[in-house]
Assembly symmetry: C2
DNA sequence: TTTTCTGCAAACGGTTTGCATCGCT
DNA sequence: AGCGATGCAAACCGTTTGCAGAAAA
């Protein structure tokens, strides 16, 4: 497996990472009047998370951030994360038990496949009958603004247990 | 508007209500060894909610139940609701801000249209490319067990504000 | 220096838990 | 009578808030 990936993959990843970093910085600048150390640390950490395609809880982030700055407060993290979620850079997945995890948005589709057992999830890309959605909105007298599709299943690891 | 509905509608509603009441009773009997007053009150209330096609929070239920039995405890309500959610008779809709409301399941599709402003929601029935979902599951090595589709929009009341 | 943002600690709100009591069976 | 379910109150846990102090501009 290793070595079979073309070199351009790394270049693409770098480009994506730079773009994401830029987007995060921009959103922070729009929302706040001063750029600070916590903002920088969070942006860096999220870029790393995005590269690894990992999802995370607030607590995960906080523990990692603490390793860089032991004084960074939970409330700051909540405040900054809220901004990013609101601006659509982070996506929040709610689980049936009321917990939730975040991940960096690769695109705006919000289509996920999540494991009902270990809760890991992957993004999927499906072709959906969006017109039908809009029609359903019209019939119920709703102006449609978006949608979320979550597929539930059991991943191979959790099936074999 | 009133009086235009055919008589059969009422008959259907009664039939649905009886079926639902029966289902709830059955689920309680499976899960618990004794049938009690709180179980009965909750079953009755849920049937009423289903007929009115209303969604509700735990707190809504609790306040209504209190009117019938002032001693009914919150924890009992949580415990019994959990059983019904687990058995699929109640569906829980999570909102982006971490709150959630419940409603009695009309079917197993879990397709909703929710207002981003007032959070009211209606059930919709769409024809979705389920095969595609299964394929996506196969590709990610997940055994698909179900899915949830939520459409977000703004209802007419909230648009005019 | 001014004003914004942060970190702390306390408050908050919904949910769960331990336990004595109630009430089905 | 026996034991399962309930009601109460306290614990819990993730999140939010108020405020004094730190640090951008």
């Amino acid at each position: 497996m290793l070595g079979t990936k073309p070199v351009t993959l790394h270049e693409d990843q770098n480009r994506d990472a730079e773009m994401l970093a830029h987007n995060i910085r921009t959103v922070f600048q729009q929302a706040r009047k001063r750029s600070t150390c916590p903002q920088k640390l969070i942006a860096e950490l999220l870029v790393a998370q995005a590269l690894e395609q990992k999802d995370f809880s607030i607590d995960d982030l906080w523990h990692q951030l603490r390793q860089q700055d032991a004084r960074l407060g939970r409330s700051t993290l909540y405040r900054l994360i809220e901004i990013l979620v609101h601006e659509g850079l982070l996506d929040r997945i709610d689980f049936a038990d009321g917990t939730h995890r975040y991940h960096v948005c690769a695109n705006k589709s919000h289509q996920h496949l999540t494991c009902v057992h270990c809760r890991r999830f992957v993004e999927v890309s499906l072709t959906l009958p969006v017109e039908q959605f809009v029609n359903a909105g019209v019939q119920a007298d709703f102006a449609l603004e978006g949608f979320t599709l979550t597929l539930f299943g059991r991943c191979s690891d959790c099936r074999s247990q």
